[in-house]
Amino acid sequence: MFEPRRIDDELWEIPIGRVAGMRVPALLFADADLLAAIAQDRSLEQLANVATLPGIVDAALAMPDIHQGYGFPVGGVAATDASDGVVSPGGVGYDINCGVRLLALPLAHDELRGDRHQRLVHELSRRVPVGTGGRGAHEGLKGANLERVLSLGPRALLEDLGIGSDTELALTESGGRLDGADPSAVSARARERGAGQIGTLGSGNHFLELQRVEAVYEADAAEAFGLRVGQLTVLIHSGSRGLGHQVCTDFVKRMDGRLAHHGIELPDRQLSCAPLDSADGRDYLKAMAAAANFAWANRAALAHRVRESVEAVLGHGAAAGTRQVYDVAHNVAKLEEHGGRAVCVHRKGATRAFPPGHPEIPPEYAAAGQPVFIPGSMGTSSFVLAGRPGAMERSFGTTCHGAGRRMSRTAVRQTVDGRELRRQLEARGIVVRAPSARGLAEEAPAAYKDVDRVVEIVERAGLAARVARLRPIGVVKG
């Protein structure tokens, strides 16, 4: 039923009509091999369902790392007309502004002599709380003012606690703050769930990864990003923690109850949505922006803890010289202009990838394009990409966000033993710290698609270009 037809070497189409109510076609960036893997789950059905959203523009889009989610597929993109379209909380996801921040250390891999490699990963695991509920979940940054964080994002940590810098704010997507954030739109339960979680990693696929730059593909862009072969980097993957999850829960429920009022029919309740110009839509955008600001503050606090770890093991100079390359969101809805039209771009497991010269790129990266970070898995490479003009022409300024799962958690646990996986990774020089063998197994490299293939597709499609490849040498799992 969902066999897409080939448009070109990297693009496939599910025509209007495959699901009742489709308003636009669905388009998928992939090659034949990736498509075969993607077709194993409900991703394509979910993508076609997205095409039913009122006001959706051009097409429902999917990146090559697409996999089955809930409502929207992970790796999905939908732009809705700002004048008569909707906003869908499920199109952003529960972990609002889940994203990644890359830090570059002023050291080369071969400077981690003796036991410093092991000690650095251990120190990172000791200073960064992991997990969801209970112990470890609420050991966040002391003194953070939640109201100010929801309004201002990481700027609140800079002004109140001296954490971060103006430079880091400038090197964060949207400056680390979405306009229109309103803390009063965030429920009491969301606040309760988020209390004490600023500076905590979370669980599931969240991680800290210590890496070395293994290869550089575009020398000028790498130089602009401050990356050179052999250099140490730290990739931080986390989001808005319990607060973001509750914001999404609250608004999926609220909008689900108001669909009839707005005259909207959907194939899946998780796609629940409301017109952008309705009170329901506006309130969601206010709360979502607040949660996104919380997530940026969370990653800023995590970066602070990384620097503390670096200082404890490698000294003050190394910590002071650790610079933020950039910070990007994977789950967010933003009002942007594309093709002369104002739209609300939902990116659910997808990354903004603006090309060189775009006004929202920091001046130091203007010639290179916006940095994009694509985590692989614990045992495989991650990539630094840069946005390219094709993203503006084909995907509302968007590219992929990771390798994309291909196996369920249950399936991977049946084939991978967490303790054995840890031994294998450590035999390859990757120091692992994880709270449970089960959780480690669920995030095994075998659970994910081939990240090299995913990145190759987005590059061939002109959405983003490879700048550097990062090889993991230490992993702290959430």
Binding site: D41, S43, H67, Q68, G69, Y70, G71, V74, G90, Y94, D95, G131, T132, G133, G134, R135, A137, R189, E192, R193, G202, S203, G204, G242, H245, Q246, C248, T249, V252, K253, D256, G257, D268, R269, Q270, S272, R405, R406, M407, S408, R409, T410, A411, S436, R438, G439
Partner: protein
């Protein structure tokens, strides 16, 4: 006990079949207890009140699991037994027994994706996808 976990690429999908609506909610509690179980036998049992509200039965099932998951996340309370349940059209009010524990960080949200809770002949069949 008639629930089963269904394969889902990234999340956890629960299917329940029971002879009564109460049975569906009870099985959901037992399934969550299985998911959150740790090996701490002998902990004293405690009681908690749980109230879930929603516009229809599928949403009520989601709200019920949300409340149980919130107890686990906020207090470390894992409900293991349904003591009593008052089930009205839009509300489930219950007393549940359980233990204070350190449940693993598993359930972050209860989704509405493919959410269902329907009567099929003499049986009730429900499905819910959990974000983990």
């Amino acid at each position: 006990m008639t629930y089963r976990w269904v394969d889902h690429t990234a999340e956890v999908e629960l299917e329940i079949e029971s002879g009564s609506e109460r049975g569906v909610l009870e099985d959901a509690l037992l399934a969550l207890a299985e998911l959150l179980a740790t090996e701490n036998p002998g902990r004293p049992q405690e009681l908690r009140s749980v109230v879930a509200e929603a516009a229809d039965r599928p949403a009520l099932l989601a709200a019920w699991i949300e409340e149980l998951a919130f107890l686990a996340e906020s207090e470390g309370f894992v409900a293991t037994r349904l003591v009593d349940l008052d089930l009205a059209e839009n509300t489930a009010s219950a007393t549940v027994a359980g233990v204070l524990d350190a449940p693993p960080p598993l359930v972050k949200a209860v989704t509405y994706h493919r959410l269902s809770f329907e009567r099929h002949g003499e049986r009730y069949v429900a499905r819910v996808v959990l974000d983990v």
